[in-house]
Symmetry: C2
Subunit: 457 residues, 2 copies
Amino acid sequence: MDAHLYAKTNQQRSLEELIALLRIPSISTLPVHQADIRAAAEWLAAHLSSMGLESRLYETAGHPIVYAQWLGAPSAPTVLIYGHYDVQPPDPIQEWHTPPFEPTLRDGRLYARGASDDKGQLFAHIKAVEALLRTEGRLPVNVKFIIEGEEETGSPNLAPFIRAHQDLLAADVVLVSDTHSRSLEQPSIVYALRGMAYMELEVWGPKRDLHSGTYGGAVHNPAQALCELIARLHDDNGTVTVPGFYDRVRPLDEEERAALNQAPYTEAALKAETGVQAAWGEAEYRIHERIGARPTLEVNGLVSGWTGEGAKTVLPAKALAKISCRLVADQDPQEIYQLVRDYIARITPPTVSTEVRLLHYGLPAITDRHSPAVQAAVAAYEEGWGAQPIFTREGGSIPIVAEFQSSLKAPVVLMGFGLPDDALHAPNEKLTLECFWRGIATSISFLTRASALPVRG
Amino acid sequence: MDAHLYAKTNQQRSLEELIALLRIPSISTLPVHQADIRAAAEWLAAHLSSMGLESRLYETAGHPIVYAQWLGAPSAPTVLIYGHYDVQPPDPIQEWHTPPFEPTLRDGRLYARGASDDKGQLFAHIKAVEALLRTEGRLPVNVKFIIEGEEETGSPNLAPFIRAHQDLLAADVVLVSDTHSRSLEQPSIVYALRGMAYMELEVWGPKRDLHSGTYGGAVHNPAQALCELIARLHDDNGTVTVPGFYDRVRPLDEEERAALNQAPYTEAALKAETGVQAAWGEAEYRIHERIGARPTLEVNGLVSGWTGEGAKTVLPAKALAKISCRLVADQDPQEIYQLVRDYIARITPPTVSTEVRLLHYGLPAITDRHSPAVQAAVAAYEEGWGAQPIFTREGGSIPIVAEFQSSLKAPVVLMGFGLPDDALHAPNEKLTLECFWRGIATSISFLTRASALPVRG
């Protein structure tokens, strides 16, 4: 039996194992889930050990890192596979059709928080390694897994860990599956990822909440002032108004624009996927360019005053917004934070006070489409997925990709096993099972072909 | 012993009784406090019975109304005393120095939710009636109490009750204490109250929360769109931009402006009370005019997306604002709601959807400063409080005042026993005990003087 056949025959067991992992509510942003985070890490380490890899946890200042290795092919290249076992909070919880941590199968789709981002995609590689080991007794390449528990909080401890463990992690190619393909029929390889600067903007005025009757009309309402500031961060074209914001953006050249436009992301697709009535944003850029090649400034949250049912006639003392900028090469997140902070300070009226705080950040990344590693991935998709992949720029952020590139000096290959409607970070996240099966097959093909990659000296 | 001396000798017991009433968390906006609401109503009915009044609860579609009467002076005038036993929610609860429903005495001030608004002010009248009954064996006038449990939710059931019980409630003067004086040394009688139109503005776009990386830049963020809409509701002068908003505002004439300016509310006082760095609002109006004689549009709450600690990179599906307009004579709340709704509809961009819902409303009111009832109150303040009151316009709303005027055809006298820094609707609400004692004395004097008022045929 070859590895592909083994994977097919063991689909039911693989699914049950994934479901067990998805049952663990390993939400990294909520301190109350500390024990669940550790349970997920220990589950993975034990699972990788049971497959025949050496595995262990590395403690960090935050959540533990799962590391595992199989180094039985000394002269062959080494593939480092990255994933994350932490998940986003499930809020708004009441909008889930079935509970987020009780994985449920409906119409060939597995619904659960983390099903696609990233437990499901990671698990496809784990099952590919298992299939090769069980059928061949060995792997065609050396394989290392590094699986973190803090991706959803900006990977604060992974970059220092990589820098401190460059020998342990040394590899000829880094494989990351935390993106999505255009569709089941049209797989894609992402070659650019956006970076991130995540901030909090706080506005305050009175020293306490006021009665809106007693003072309304003579005090600048901080909730209103927050809205007035946020409204000044974009112009009518959807362009960010922060001075200097676009200064370091690497322009698209005509060749790259043309290549991206071979498989354009249409307004019709955007409307079908999201339910919006119309697209929005910079008119001089096509939709996939706005998402992949242009930076954004997004309001991720607003809170002020009375937010419950019914009425409370309060003039709130303060108002808070969560604001994140998605960044493209060659923007610098800390410089962007400073530009936003300085602009907000400059446009703050004398009637209120403001502060902008940087919560976390990550660098944007671009990888070389023409490297042998990426070309091996193209061939693996053709064989394992059954279709030739296109190259795309991804709007999301995997800040650690830039760190792998700079610390390990290895090419990073982004194989996306998700789909655009997976509802990442939203209610009713799902993984299409057919993507899971094809992901396993594509990973088997990639690991097999990776044996021909050049080995670094 | 006369009534004033009786009240003084019984201060400690009166305070303990008030504390018992304040311990009941009778929050009318939160359904979970249904039993507490009833407990507060029953406590008051029992207390009034024990003083010698006939009392009972009237059930309504919402919370019960407490009614009590002493009608032992057939040829004397009748005073109807209004108050409310419900309170605002205590949020943000973590900002209270002591728990909101564990009344705490510090530096001559009693800290508790409802201490000033309105349990404390109401209780001053109850203790005045008790002092007169205990010392004279009778009252100088007939007295009726009507105490509702829905003031903080816009009194939805009180107006129909008044209309249906005009004989029961018939009176020669209505006495309301739910306002505040300028200071302990400078009592005031309010002759104008603002009305209210309380609305919810909802903005939505995508059918679910989106990943801000996958779609950010091509989808109009509903939280941003909400801010952009709210920012367009005022101009740079602080004037509301909704077309027609000011059309029915009764202008201040020069005589009234001059009278109000005899005791102006200064920017220094505003800053000291609220902690704001500067006043805000319509430059062509003085601060007390902005609060008392001009309508407002206030953001009472904002909520969208991720509002917890840390970061969540969500592009929210929807955003909600609580918005209330304080209205002055002769504005109509339902017309104002329609104007706001129509304006929002007109400025909503094609990239999102919006809805404006009216949650509750109340009419503005103006009373005649020259009526015998109001002049009796002036004399009562001079005797009971020890200072001559000024006349002021109040920015807050007691919508039922307009209903008393129109249904009972009786003058309404507003005696404010609170102070500006009582923190109504905010953390650390308090009642200054000296106000409570002077309030009891002023009420005793008023009830005594009210016996000389004309009796309606």
